[in-house]
């Protein structure tokens, strides 16, 4: 294939609500190459790919194939140009109760062209032939919901061939796969290369990136910071490029005396996302649990809060066994959680700031017959708003209208007057602006200073390094390493978070 037919994104820029997400990004993809796109969370790689696949519209810049400029305004436009994306959530792209063959031919069946009769045997034969091309022997009559995750991915990739894709984005395809399954996927990617298909490969696992990629591009803060042939870069260069000097933010970490053990977790497990985690948090201590997306941090926090049932394990708070049968029980035992999915789980967007803040302490705010004291409810809300610096027009404002950071402060503020001793934060800075971020760090510091225990779960290593007294690294549902404050670098954290137990070479 000639270089003239390469896909080129030039000077792409995009901002969300005035905040720049991409600033003048160039990215090219040649037919028949694997081009790895790397970057920390929020570096802009998924924004760039969403622009390419038509999910977002760019604010500026051009996309060309060869010399021809494309106008991509929707995913359908992108597909018409042969640009396809396989998202991480494979289940959303397959119809569970249809067969493999039907799923592969879905577009053609739905298009409704040609004969009104379905020639099922021909469809089956064609699907089989396509699967054979990438060396897979999944029975085409199997229902999609009976497939393993890896098989679902293969079906989706086979569908790309049916749709005659020219450029394919694989968004962290290996994240949910075992090593053998990932190897099989790499074999399939080789087949795609031979067919002249260009692949954008997004992954957090550096060793495999080196293994399968022809070129590597690293993004940081909405810009391309490194773009080299894969043979010319070392893993160390990549890590340094990804992290940059991102210690710009300040972490107001005060020295707090650390007291006796407050939270003790022993061998808690559920399914394959949390495989036997033990940890403890002392009074006044901020313990960070870091890990990549999908390491099981959210699942761990939900288990400890009683939001999901645990298969085994014991939790103690202040020496006594904690009841974590439900969130209400966990709260009574002294555990509170600020969940990751803020808008769905942390706050009620359709209710007022007032009602959100008082929900966990309605009992304290009401008399014997259950009548709420409007005065104490309002005072409580005003006090919390002042203390946390929540910016809202009034206590009656619907929380859904607040900015992300202020919503997060409401999600935190509702716990402030409870009897909770252990505060868990799951990615509390996600979608939060810098100013609110600093406020949130300050609140967390104050909680620690008040003798509470804080468990801070995050995939932002810099935050863990800046905030925590101790850092636990989580990988594949287990704690693989523990570091004291100051005893670890970001490179080491990233290494253990992505490679797991083996020691650094």
């Amino acid at each position: 294939m000639s270089v003239a037919l390469q896909l080129a994104m030039n000077d792409i820029s995009k901002s969300f609500a005035g905040v720049s997400a991409l600033g003048g990004v160039d990215f090219t993809l040649r037919p028949g190459e694997v081009h790895a796109l790397l970057g920390a969370n929020g570096a802009g790689k998924s924004t760039l790919m969403k622009i390419l696949s038509g999910a977002y519209a760019a604010d500026g810049g051009t996309i060309r194939i060869g010399a021809r400029e494309l106008s991509i305004a929707s995913p359908a436009d992108a597909k018409a140009e042969g640009i396809h994306c396989v998202y991480q959530e494979v289940d959303t792209s397959l119809v569970p109760h249809l067969t493999v063959a039907e799923n592969m031919m879905l577009d053609r069946i739905a298009a409704g062209k040609g004969s009104m009769w379905m020639n099922w045997s021909a469809i089956g034969r064609e699907a089989e032939a396509v699967l054979a091309r990438i060396g897979s022997r999944i029975p085409v009559t199997r229902r999609a919901d009976e497939l393993t995750l890896a098989e679902k991915q293969i079906v989706l990739i086979a569908r790309l061939l049916v749709q005659e894709a020219k450029f394919v984005i694989l968004d962290e395809p290996t994240a949910p796969l075992s090593l053998e399954e990932a190897d099989r996927l790499f074999g399939i990617m080789d087949e795609l290369k031979k067919q002249g298909i260009g692949i954008v490969f997004i992954s957090h696992r550096l060793p495999e990136v080196k293994q399968v990629s022809d070129r590597i591009t690293v993004m940081r803060d909405g810009k391309v910071v490194l773009s080299e042939p894969a043979g010319a870069v070392e893993p160390g260069d990549i890590v340094r490029a990804m992290l940059g000097r991102s210690f710009e933010e300040e972490y107001p970490k005060a020295a707090v005396p650390i007291g006796e053990t407050l939270l003790e977790v022993e061998d808690i497990a559920a399914g394959h996302r949390v495989r036997g985690v033990s940890l403890n948090v002392r009074r006044g201590e901020i313990v960070a649990v870091v890990g990549l997306v999908g390491a099981g941090k959210t699942e761990l926090s939900r288990l400890l809060f009683g939001a999901d049932p645990a298969d085994r394990g014991a939790v103690k708070v202040g020496g006594g066994t904690a009841n974590i049968a439900s969130p209400a029980d966990a709260l009574r035992s002294g555990i509170a959680l600020v969940p990751e999915e803020r808008r769905k789980e942390g706050i009620l967007v359709g209710s007022s700031v007032l009602h959100n803040l008082s929900l966990p302490i309605l009992k304290q705010l009401s008399g014997a017959l259950g009548f709420l004291s409007r005065l104490s409810e309002r005072r409580h809300a005003e006090g919390t708003i002042g203390r946390l610096g929540i910016r809202t027009a009034s206590t009656g404002q619907l929380v859904g209208y607040l900015s992300g950071g202020n919503q997060q402060k409401v999600a935190i503020g509702k716990w402030m007057s409870t009897d909770a001793e252990v505060f868990m934060f799951d990615e509390p800075t996600k979608g939060v602006d810098i100013g609110a971020k600093r406020d949130i760090f300050r609140i967390i510091g104050e909680l620690a200073a008040a003798g509470k225990g804080v468990l801070y779960l995050t995939c932002e290593f810099a935050e863990a390094l800046g905030l925590a007294d101790r850092i636990l690294v989580m990988c594949d549902g287990a704690i693989v390493k523990q570091f004291d404050r100051g005893g670890v670098t970001m490179e080491e954290l990233l290494y253990y978070a992505s490679a797991g137990k083996e020691d650094m070479a």
Partner: protein
Amino acid sequence: MNNRLLQFSYKYGALIFIGLVILFFSLRNEYFFTYSNLVDILRSISILTFVAIGVTISLTVDGFDLSVGSTVSLTTVATATMMIWYELPLAVVLIVPLLIGAVVGLLNAFLIVKVRIPDLLATLAVMYIVSGIHKTYTKGYSIYNNMQFQDGTKAPGVMNPDFLWIGQGKLLGVPFPVILMVLAVIGAHVFMKYTRFGRRTTMTGGNEEAARLSGVRVRRVRAWAYVASGVFAAIGGILYTARVGSGQIDAGAPMLMDAVAAVFVGYSVFGAGRPNIIGTFVGAVLTGILINGLTMLHVQYYTTDIIKGAVLVLALTVTFVHLSRRRA
């Protein structure tokens, strides 16, 4: 300006509409706007209002109780047979239907909260079961004073006059069912708005998962909502028997849809956009006014359904056009 007009119509549209309807009927018929007729209207909707309050509570927790109509039917015949077949004392006659309502509610709650059948489907199934029980129990006959059985014997009892007073009596010139209704509306409104239990109920309906993760025992809240719904339907059943003076078969069947319609009309009152007790009451009042006025104008009862449906469409249009714009 367009936007403000929309806001205004959203907030006060339902009330203005009721005003216009009253004005229209008053101009068409001089007897419409008289004390006795207005009180008549209120009395005619008292049973409906009780059922509709129950439906409002189930909708508040983001559920739906389809079984209220058949609960009305079951409690109606239960009250009547307790007096006419078994001559039981008044206290029993009043308490047993309430227990029946609570048991139906518990059954709904069990299926929805424990077995996790979706609300609509679980209460649909229970609707059939309860309806079947009430017809099996009476063998399909309505219950009246000294009714004759198939074997030729007669039932020993008659309706207790004290009991009938509940449905037909007056206190200070106001029909007793109207007084009960007003008390129930105020009580339910205060409970939902000013107690922590009511707050937990609304918050659970707002977002069940977020409420659960705020420490609310949402399963318990949803269970009580269905029990309350059943009990309110049971009160409706008792009032029905007391009003009519007999135990009519299938008395509650038309009640379900009327109640649901009243609740949804209530969505648009004061721009609430969600189930609320006062709105439900306004919806019930509108239903009563329409039926009463149209009957006075000699519109056939089967035609009034068309108008009721059209009014419901209007109310839903106002509500959902507004809600979808707000989201956009």
